[in-house]
């Protein structure tokens, strides 16, 4: 594996098809080695800093395990107990952390463009672990890995992404990634959650989930945020589920080979029926497992 394929991984938008296919191939190799119980400490003595301004269960732990599997030292920085409470800015925080010499900074932040912003001021390589509503490239890459493991080549396949596209960085990264791999992407959800000009990215859109069930090879369900009803983009969780939930009945209408993904965390019973989340079509746990292998590939490419 050549060192430093990229300096940073900020967005899928920056990646070409061959970059993505390269990462998929390396992820597959890591997965095989892990399954065989082998490990290569290619990042021995490197310092990987998780710099998380937002909560995370999967991503942070996944990057930590991936880094440690490669022999690296990992720092886990979150805002709790830090000078962010004293008003220290993002840029000052990362400049200070960068001065301590990490090789890689993995940033999750609530502002779109945050990873790009810090990449211009730090010496470390920057991996975007989610910036506002913009992108979550490592999620899309691991999703592509799980999809390809389940479906073979993604060229010509049809993938539906269902849910709150508007607020979803996972959706944006996935749309870009899947299109680059030659798949067709359909986004689906209430019109209030489909952002303006989404089709300019190259996907199609529909409000009618039932109309696409028979043609998709996979459905990626996204978490819907059940918050403040006065600003709600749909009147109730019940209505959302009835119209756009991946229910048992809908799952039954899919092609026999079709699979189901979700980046987590799941609102069981809302965007995804519990039985479907745990059922035979679900690849959700595979996503989590594949995330380690893909993040190992990403770290090797950047560190």
């Amino acid at each position: 594996m050549s060192a430093n394929l990229f300096r940073h991984l900020l967005s899928i938008e920056d990646l070409r098809r061959e970059d993505i296919e390269n990462l998929l191939a390396h992820a597959a190799a890591h997965k095989r080695r892990r399954t065989a119980g082998l490990s290569e400490k290619t990042l021995q003595n490197k310092i990987i800093a998780n710099v998380f301004f937002e909560d995370s269960t999967r991503t942070r732990t996944s990057f930590e395990i991936a880094a440690k599997s490669l022999g690296a030292n990992v720092i886990n920085w979150t805002t709790r107990g830090t000078s962010v409470s004293k008003g220290e800015t993002l840029l000052d925080t990362v400049r200070n952390l960068d001065a301590m010499g990490p090789d890689v900074m993995i940033l999750r932040h609530s502002s779109s463009g945050a990873a790009f912003l810090i990449s211009s001021v730090v010496k470390a390589s920057v991996i975007n672990a989610g910036d506002g509503q913009h992108e979550h490239p490592s999620q899309a890459l691991l999703d592509a890995f799980t999809l390809s493991q389940g479906l073979g080549t993604l060229e010509g396949k049809t993938i539906a992404i269902v849910g709150d596209i508007f607020h979803s960085r996972v959706a944006r990264s996935n749309i870009l990634c899947l299109l680059r791999l030659g798949a067709q992407v359909i986004v689906c959800g209430p019109p209030t959650l489909l952002p303006a000009g989404i089709e300019a990215i190259g996907c199609s859109s529909t409000r009618d989930l039932d109309s696409v069930l028979e043609k998709v090879d996979a459905i990626m369900a996204l978490r819907v945020q059940l918050e403040r009803q006065s600003e709600a983009h749909y009147p109730s969780a019940r209505e959302y589920t009835r119209l756009w939930g991946v229910t048992v009945a809908r799952a039954a209408k899919l092609k026999p080979s079709a699979i189901i993904l979700h980046p987590g965390p799941i609102n069981r019973g809302v965007e995804l029926a519990s039985e479907v989340a745990d059922g035979p079509r679900s690849r959700i746990m595979n996503q989590v497992e594949d995330g380690i292998a893909m993040r190992m590939a990403i770290l090797e490419a950047c560190a």
Binding site: L91, Q133, R172, P195, A196, G197, I198
Partner: protein, 432 residues
């Protein structure tokens, strides 16, 4: 310094008086004494050779944020005026969203005093519509006008309460001043930071739908019609707004409006790479809106080019996009950007000068904007062919927040005069 100045052989363009051609302009005692087609010879006059250059009436900017009192690190009345005269502006209207807000005569008089101390361009304060810009109670408009305010606005904020807006339009009739509005329905705009469209979606930025401006333009046109008050719409950004204003004017409603150079030059494509120097309210829109703004400027629907000069420091702009302050400086780049329109053919040089001079002066009924005999000698001498590169580090403004840094442009102010006194000369260091 002599009282008599002869500006020789410049190409005078004075739209209000229908003058366009080579003239000698004689200034005496601070006013235009004579405008002559034939060359003059005046003993004892200071002679300024303007051969090959244009002479325009000094520009009038209806929308400038001078930041004083309260945010002097970004700009002061002094530095703002220095930037203005460097850009060819001899009259500017100072926005009231200072700290404290200009909602009392005290603040108005302070701004007037600071402008007198700067002794550069004329500064006409704008007073607040509502106390503290809080949008609930009318400020004492009479007191503000008596202290020197030429209009009222809550700029920076919309007037969300329609009843307050209606009362402002009615009450302002007492003083025959325009009510200037920042059109933004806050409920529709929400947390938005970028135009609702493919670019904002791609960048993951919260959208500002066009309706947030257009719906308020519609509301205020209705209120202007009903009250008979004078409405001035600030920084128009949407095609649909231009169309509504066009129709309102056709119906004889007293509405005027302005557009900024950035809204006729840039689209939301300028947001690429999260450029916070492309972040402002209203946001940069798409190409169909830019087209409509250009059409509106050319056909008279839009009365004035106004910069909405909004200085901000590095700390306010070199941050996450959603946290960055809104606005860019504009006084020193307005003329060359407008000239790009002349070069591209959607604007004539005559119409451009109207938009900088007689148009804004007329909208606010300000003195100035023309070079009639007897008028104060407020003028700017411009070299339209001068090619230069915008260099933010050399701005006279204290602030550098512009998306145009490094842009190669044509057309530059060589000299600006206010009341016959040279207040700016290119390549002559500014006295502090």
């Amino acid at each position: 310094m002599t009282d008599t100045i002869l500006i020789r052989r410049g190409k005078l363009l004075d739209p209000r008086n229908g003058v366009k051609g080579v003239r000698d302009v004689l200034v005496r005692g601070g006013v235009v004494a004579e405008v002559s087609e034939r060359a003059l010879s005046v003993t004892g006059a200071e002679s300024i050779d303007a051969t090959g250059k244009w002479i325009f009436p000094g520009f009038v900017d209806l929308h400038v944020h001078l930041r004083e009192p309260g945010e002097e690190s970004k700009e002061t009345v002094q530095t703002g005026c220095q930037a203005a005269v460097a850009g060819g502006f001899t009259s500017i209207v100072a926005m009231p969203n200072t700290r404290p807000v200009n909602d009392t005569a005290f603040i108005t008089k302070f701004v007037v005093l600071r402008a007198e101390e700067a002794n550069l361009c004329r500064v006409f304060p704008a007073g607040a519509i509502s106390k503290g810009l809080l949008g609930t109670e009318l400020a004492e408009m009479g007191e503000l006008v008596r202290a020197g305010c030429v209009c009222v606005t809550d700029d920076g904020q919309p007037v969300m309460n329609a009843s307050l807006m209606r009362r402002a339009l009615l009450y302002a009739k007492t003083f025959d001043i325009p009510v200037m509005v920042h059109e933004e329905d806050l409920a529709l705009a929400g947390q938005g930071t970028a135009n609702e469209g493919a670019m904002g979606t791609r960048l993951g930025l919260a959208p500002v739908p066009k309706s947030s401006e257009v719906a308020m333009v519609a509301r205020d046109i209705v209120l202007a019609e009903e009250t008979g008050g004078r409405l001035h719409i600030a920084h128009v950004s949407c095609a649909a707004s231009v169309q509504l204003i066009r129709e309102a004017k056709r119906r004889g409603i007293a509405v005027s409006c302005e557009a900024t150079p950035h809204h006729f030059t840039l689209t939301d494509a300028a947001l690429d790479r999260y450029n916070t120097n492309a972040k402002m309210k209203p946001p940069l829109r798409d190409s169909s809106d830019v087209e409509a703004i250009r059409q509106g400027l050319a056909d008279g629907t839009i009365d004035a080019i106004a910069t909405d000069h909004a200085p901000h420091g590095v700390l306010d702009k070199h941050v996450e996009f959603d946290k960055a302050a809104n606005g860019i400086v504009g006084l020193e780049t307005a003329l060359p950007l407008a000239l790009e329109g002349v070069k591209a053919g959607w604007l004539t040089v005559d119409r451009m000068v109207e938009l900088f001079t007689s148009g804004p002066a007329k909208a606010f009924r300000l003195a100035g904007g023309h070079l009639s005999v007897g008028a104060p000698a407020d003028l700017t001498v411009v070299d339209l062919d001068d090619q230069w590169k915008v260099n933010a580090q050399r701005f006279r403004s204290k602030s550098r927040n512009t998306p145009f840094d490094g842009r190669t442009v044509h057309g530059r102010v060589a000299r600006t005069m206010v009341g016959g006194r040279t207040v700016f000369q290119l390549n002559v260091p500014t006295e502090t």
